[in-house]
């Protein structure tokens, strides 16, 4: 353990004194304050904060990922290249201890820098409202919609399989399936019909009502607020691009089942006029939620409108409530970045055990960027699978599953909409990325390094 620590300390010294880390440090120190002033977002305080935190985190993450790759590869390959390893590995240190020391050093350095920059971003974000003479409304907006960690509930998806089957049967018996869905595979036809049916259940003609019920709403603060976030789609855009709406949010059960049924939550009627295709939020007191976690959201399309209103499938309606503090969310976002760095450090160490510096860097960068767009990669390969299913599912599929999905767990996607990044998500990422994938890489690295010849062949 002591020799692992000695190697780790030496690795950190190397990175700092060879000025590899220094350049990244300088870049971040220069860029972060510049971004603090240049990021304007939609010119509201919330917009500024969102852009700053999002860009700041992305930049920190990107630069530290590159740093981790470079340091982890450089520290091993340079020792081999410049042969300092001759005098190190012949001392009473086992080869795996040497590699673990290198890994520990890299991770220590990255973690140190990550903590430094997270603190910097947090501090700037905390002081930003004071730089801009923010109005009271701005501050409230920021407090409710940014400096918080809200849990988002989407309405449960209705089961439409029966309707879809009926519709399909009707189409087939009608004999005009080819006319409507010419050239599509049965799978695609089913998917499309299912979407249409679902969408129909989320659209209201003039005078019609929609009702969603949630059963597990647990706001952290009963005296706080809950938020209904929505985006409206219309069949015919009104001249001013705005639609009227009437909402009822709260315990709907007394109205639905009669007064004698248990109903201890308040019910708040709301009337609004909102622009179409834009996210808007309705804030109501948290006592709208019943003791047992029941909450209903009712939408009524008033006759003032001339168009039917549709809530898009993906993000049409969400119920949000404060579940944790912004600070805790921010720290967990940091942990997501840290698990990325750990993976990359292991990857760097692995590649440097058998590749030279430039090749290893290239390889790791390719992996890094592929992992950053893993969603796209997986989708495109899944498309491939339709044609060469067998070959694909036994070869590429596994390799791609081994790729970490950096884009899927991007901290910005949680922090910008102030969405709760739960411990369970962090734990899952840590388990998959650190405990499984990174350790797998590390095991390979240790095996390769234990059996390779350290000295270069010179005759």
């Amino acid at each position: 353990m002591r020799s692992i620590w000695a190697v780790a300390v030496n690795t950190v010294k190397q990175a700092l004194r060879m000025k590899v880390a220094f350049i990244f440090l300088l870049l971040l120190v220069l860029l972060l304050p510049v971004m603090a002033f240049s990021s304007t977002g939609d010119n509201t305080l919330k917009g500024r904060l969102q852009t700053f935190v999002s860009y700041g985190l992305s930049l920190t993450s990107l630069l530290l990922c590159l740093l981790t790759i470079i340091v982890s590869i450089h520290t091993v390959t340079s020792d081999i290249e410049h042969r300092q390893i001759y005098t190190v590995i012949t001392k009473p240190i086992r080869r795996f201890e040497f590699l673990l020391g290198k890994l520990l050093g890299t991770v220590l350095l990255s973690t140190g820098l990550l903590v430094l920059f997270l603190v910097l971003i947090y501090a700037v974000a905390a002081y930003m409202p004071r730089f801009y003479s923010a109005t009271e409304a701005d501050l409230i907006e920021v407090k409710n919609e940014f400096l918080t960690a809200r849990k988002a509930l989407t309405p449960p998806e209705p089961d439409v399989s029966k309707e879809v089957a009926d519709a399909l049967k009707k189409l087939i018996s009608g004999g005009n399936i080819d006319q409507v869905y010419g050239g599509m595979s049965p799978k695609e036809i089913t998917a499309q019909i299912s979407n249409t049916t679902k969408l129909a259940k989320r659209s209201a003609d003039v005078g019609q009502q929609l009702l969603w019920e949630f059963y597990n709403v647990k706001p952290r603060d009963p005296n706080g607020s809950i938020f209904v976030k929505f985006k409206l789609e219309v069949s015919v855009t009104p001249p001013d691009s705005e639609v009227y709406s009437q909402w009822g949010i709260g315990d709907y059960r007394p109205y639905k089942y009669g007064t004698q049924s248990k109903g201890d939550g308040e019910f708040y009627p709301v009337q609004r006029k909102d622009p179409v295709r834009k996210f808007r939020e309705i804030e109501v007191p948290a006592d709208a939620v019943a003791e047992d976690g029941y909450l209903a959201v009712a939408f009524y399309n008033p006759p003032l409108n001339t168009t039917s209103v549709i809530f898009p499938l993906e993000d049409g309606l969400e119920v949000l409530y404060k579940a944790d503090s912004f600070t805790a969310n921010f720290i967990r976002a940091g942990l997501l970045i840290l698990s990325r760095l750990f993976f990359l450090a292991c990857l760097g160490i692995l590649t440097s055990t058998f590749l030279s510096f430039p090749v290893a860097i290239l390889f790791c960068l390719v992996i890094f960027f592929t992992a950053s767009v893993s969603g796209f990669v997986i989708e495109s390969f899944d498309f491939l699978s339709e044609n060469m299913a067998v070959v694909y599912s036994y070869t590429f599929k596994w390799l791609i599953r081994l790729l970490p999905q950096f884009d899927k767990f991007n901290p910005s996607t949680y922090l910008v909409p102030a969405e709760l990044l739960s411990w369970s998500v962090v734990a899952r990422v840590a388990l998959v990325m650190v405990c499984v994938k990174s350790l797998l890489l590390l095991v390979f690295a240790l095996i390769i390094f234990s059996f390779r010849e350290i000295a270069r062949i010179t005759v």
Binding site: W5, K13, Q14, R83, I85, K91, P92, E453, A455, V459
Partner: protein, 413 residues
């Protein structure tokens, strides 16, 4: 455990990309290096010297055969803790200072802070780099880097020292110093494996040599035997008169032999060293390493006790036992359960032969500082040894310091 280094038909074949044998770097090499021997591995460039060393140390895998260092595999941490290695060039971390470099290697040997500091100071003093201890190694000249390289090979007070071209890049004084050091270490029972093509160096220090060519041993044996010209005689005299020379010549001619009379020359090395030492006395400043003739305290054990040990080791146990001076009887009484503790001690000292001797040696002298160590047996030993040495206390100028260094020695023993 018979040999410090032993190889069994060690072979290294470098093959090309297709796996076809390209070069036999080392070919069926059988080496036996005894404990407490200075062994020189000679050969022209590319004869497989360095490849052999790398295989010994586990940096390269032999294609065939195997090698043992100190009776085991050199990659075993227990073995490598007792080996010091200086590669053909001093490969150092350029960004570390001289002191940090040695501290790093000291940590790899798990030496504790106190011992590390003591040894680093002693070594820096010895290699003459104390004044530049806090300068990054990257700014050092080749000779200075070589000195640091040597210092790192000695930080664990190794039992087996493997030196690959130790004197390259060193000035004559540094070279002389390394040679002195090697001799001193050999005297303390260490084994030195030296690899060089500077024949003068090898000739001065090595007990035995092997000459490699094409990965095969072409000649090996005692240096004295190999070099002795049995059909020639040389004698050196004082400043005798010309007539005496004539008389000697006549005698030689009567024996029907050739006779050449010259005045012997100084060796250039001796002359050079004398000149520099004279300059140093005049206090000339130098930017480079300071040439010293010091040897680290912890490396230079007290010669007195060594002589005693040498005697102990060489003499048969039974013969030595009755000669024990009376004061040891006191020690006997402390361990009444054992009939003859002194004999046991002696046999313990003699039994593992030369290699473990320095370990025992160190243990003995560690005792005074390791106050909390309860081992009564070691007290017995030190008493016996002191009595044998005919002294009550170690005869060093600064006994505390030496003892502390010795304590470090036992730390990794």
């Amino acid at each position: 455990m018979e040999y410090a280094v032993e190889t069994f038909s060690l072979t290294k074949i470098f093959s090309d990309w297709w796996g076809r044998a390209k070069v036999y770097a080392v070919d069926d090499l059988n080496l036996q290096i005894q404990y407490n021997e200075v062994f020189g591995l000679l050969g022209p460039n590319g004869s497989g010297k360095t490849t052999t060393l790398k295989m010994l140390l586990g940096l390269l895998h032999p294609t065939k055969g195997k090698s043992l260092c100190l009776g085991g595999d050199a990659t075993d941490t227990k073995i490598s803790a007792r080996i010091g290695f200086l590669p053909e060039e001093s490969y150092l971390y350029k960004y570390l200072t001289a002191r940090e470099t040695l501290d790093f290697y000291g940590r790899l040997f798990r030496l504790d802070r106190r011992v590390r500091k003591m040894r680093i100071d002693a070594l820096l003093d010895m290699v003459g780099l104390k004044a530049v201890a806090n300068r990054p190694v990257g700014t050092f000249s080749k000779g200075m880097a070589r000195r640091i390289g040597l210092a790192q090979a000695l930080i664990n007070d190794p039992d087996l020292l493997i030196l690959d071209e130790p004197t390259t890049g060193l000035d004559p004084i540094g070279t002389r110093q390394i040679k002195d050091l090697i001799l001193k270490l050999a005297k303390r029972g260490k084994t030195v494996l030296l690899c060089s093509h500077l024949l003068a160096d090898v000739e001065d220090v090595c007990d035995r040599i092997a000459i490699l060519y094409g990965g095969k041993i072409q000649a090996k044996g005692q240096v004295a035997e190999l070099l002795q010209q049995t059909h020639k005689r040389q004698f050196t005299t004082g400043d005798i008169s010309d007539s005496a020379v004539e008389r000697i010549k006549r005698i030689v001619q009567e024996e029907n032999a050739e006779c050449v009379v010259t005045s012997p020359m100084h060796k250039l090395e001796t002359f050079f060293i004398e000149t520099v030492v004279a300059a140093q006395r005049q206090d000339r400043r130098t930017s480079g390493a300071v040439s010293t003739t010091k040897i680290g305290d912890f490396l230079a054990a007290e010669t007195i006790s060594e002589n005693v040990l040498d005697r102990l080791v060489s003499a048969p146990v039974s013969a030595e036992t009755p000669a024990q001076p009376p004061p040891t009887d006191k020690a006997v009484s402390t361990e009444s359960a054992e009939p003859k503790p002194d004999e046991r001690v002696l046999s313990k000292l003699t039994e593992p032969a030369v290699p473990t001797m320095p370990v025992a040696d160190r243990k003995i002298h560690t005792q005074p500082v390791e106050t909390d160590a309860p081992a009564a047996k070691d007290h017995v030993r030190s008493d016996i040894l002191d009595e044998l040495a005919g002294r009550s206390k170690p005869k060093t100028k600064d006994p505390n310091r030496t003892d502390e260094n010795q304590a470090g020695g036992s730390g990794d023993a």
